[in-house]
């Protein structure tokens, strides 16, 4: 089975000459369907860059990016746009919903952009909101929602339809821990239904919701956590001397 997302020695260089910045260096990453991977690292380590490249918003300088087995590098702009509205969902830190559209219209927008009739799309959007326990918020505008509600609606939009890949850049950056936990629970729920998730964060508590945590420093993957041991291990004697 092909991984939902695969980066093969991806590097990204911004600028040139004296202003050159190596944002990513030879990054390899593979995310299976159903897995939630967290990317941790200090500020400027290239986390956001990794996500934008994985989501076809930017081109890698070298290396290969595959989404659902499809190589991004040869794709036209329109093909990428189509890939984004069919297979990739984004959640950004703070600015996610389009003002002027209600929550359910925001959720339905990727479907409508893909040619689904408005009524069908909005029914699907409502269903997605209901699954996340947000059915009351459907007819509200983004400025009538709290930050946490906005982020949850954004997650609903990112998974509506038949999305394969859920990319979240600090999805709970501006939220308190309760709301942050709610957001991460939603992401896990989405992944359990078969979506591959990548969440960028510098908050260890949020990262600990992931199946695997990848540590990034200076554009390099320096480490990652072992496969989870299962909670029983907490009951065993701790591994210190």
């Amino acid at each position: 089975m092909t991984a939902a997302l695969e980066l093969r020695s991806v590097s990204k260089v911004y600028g040139d000459g004296p202003t050159e910045v190596q944002a990513l260096r030879e990054v390899n990453l593979s995310v299976e369907a159903g897995a939630l991977v967290a990317v941790m690292g200090p500020s400027g380590s290239g986390k956001s860059t990794l996500l934008t490249i994985a989501g076809s918003l930017e081109d890698a300088t070298t290396g290969e990016v595959l989404v659902g087995g499809l190589t991004l590098s040869g794709m036209s702009r329109n093909d990428r746009a189509r890939l984004r509205r069919r297979a990739i969902g984004y959640v950004f830190q703070d600015f996610n919903l389009l003002a002027g559209l209600t929550a359910v219209e925001n959720v339905a927008l990727p479907l409508e952009l893909d040619g689904v009739a408005a009524r069908t799309a909005q029914a699907a959007g409502m269903e997605a909101l209901e699954q996340l326990g947000l059915s009351d918020q459907g007819s509200r505008f983004p400025d009538q929602l709290s930050g946490g509600e906005r982020q949850r609606v954004a997650i609903a939009r990112a998974v509506v339809g038949d999305r394969r890949l859920l990319l979240a850049d600090e999805p709970s950056g501006a939220l308190d821990s309760v709301n942050g936990e709610a957001v991460m629970r939603l992401m896990r729920a989405a992944c359990r239904r078969g979506v591959a998730g990548v969440v960028v964060t510098h908050d260890a508590q949020l990262a600990s919701w992931a199946d695997r945590v990848v540590f990034l420093r200076d554009g390099r993957v320096v480490d990652q956590t072992a496969p989870p041991l299962g909670p029983e291990s907490l009951l065993e004697p701790s591994p210190s001397q």
Partner: protein, 202 residues
């Protein structure tokens, strides 16, 4: 256990006398950790017994006697640096010592040491989180306990993040005037300054 490894770390820089070891230990731990001469010598004796250090000349016992780390001692030190502290007791102090010590040990990448601990802590948090996720919603008491644990470990991770950031800045600052040495080399670490600052505050 930490005095033992701290002395090993000091010796890893080169052979030292017992008195010198005590002074440097106090200076590096920000003089918050007073150590009497007797403690130093009993610890050194035990280290010698375990084969981790050897004395330069076994003629006289006293402040003039020099010690040097053995290969076994170096191995023990490296292992200890990467061993996660026992988290059932407040872990911070031990971790702090480890990071402080790692700064002085030649050939040790502090970032790597920090990362080892960070990974271990995050894995631990993953397990706790999994517990919380699986626990029934109504088990409020359990959730609170898990949260407390998570926040405690989280604060340690944050300290590691902060320490790393501070180290990075310090190495950039140290690099800037001379721009010679490897960023990770202990010589580039402005540790003495750290000690002095704490001392001044006191």
């Amino acid at each position: 256990m930490t005095v033992r490894h701290a002395l090993l770390a000091l010796l890893s820089e080169g052979p030292k006398y017992g008195l010198q070891l005590r002074q440097e230990f106090e200076a590096r731990t920000g003089e918050v950790w007073p150590l009497n001469v007797g403690q130093v010598y009993t610890t050194l004796q035990r280290l010698e017994r375990d084969g981790f250090v050897e004395s330069e000349d076994s003629a006289e016992d006293g402040p003039q006697r020099g010690f040097r780390i053995t290969r076994d001692g170096e191995k023990e030190l490296a292992e200890w640096l990467r061993t996660p502290p026992d988290l059932s007791s407040p872990p911070r102090d031990e971790l702090v010592i480890k990071v402080l010590v790692a700064l002085r040990v030649p050939g040790v990448d502090v970032h790597e040491v920090i990362q080892v601990h960070r990974r271990y802590l995050v894995e631990l948090m993953q397990q706790w989180t999994r517990l919380k996720e699986d626990a029934a919603e109504h088990d409020l008491g359990f959730a609170l306990v898990v949260d407390a644990e998570l926040f405690r470990i989280d604060s340690v991770v944050r300290w590691l993040d902060a320490a790393e950031g501070r180290l990075k800045r310090a190495s950039v600052e140290a690099d800037a005037p001379e721009a010679t040495t490897d960023a990770q080399s202990p010589a580039a670490m402005p540790l003495p300054r750290l000690g002095r600052r704490v001392g001044v505050r006191r």
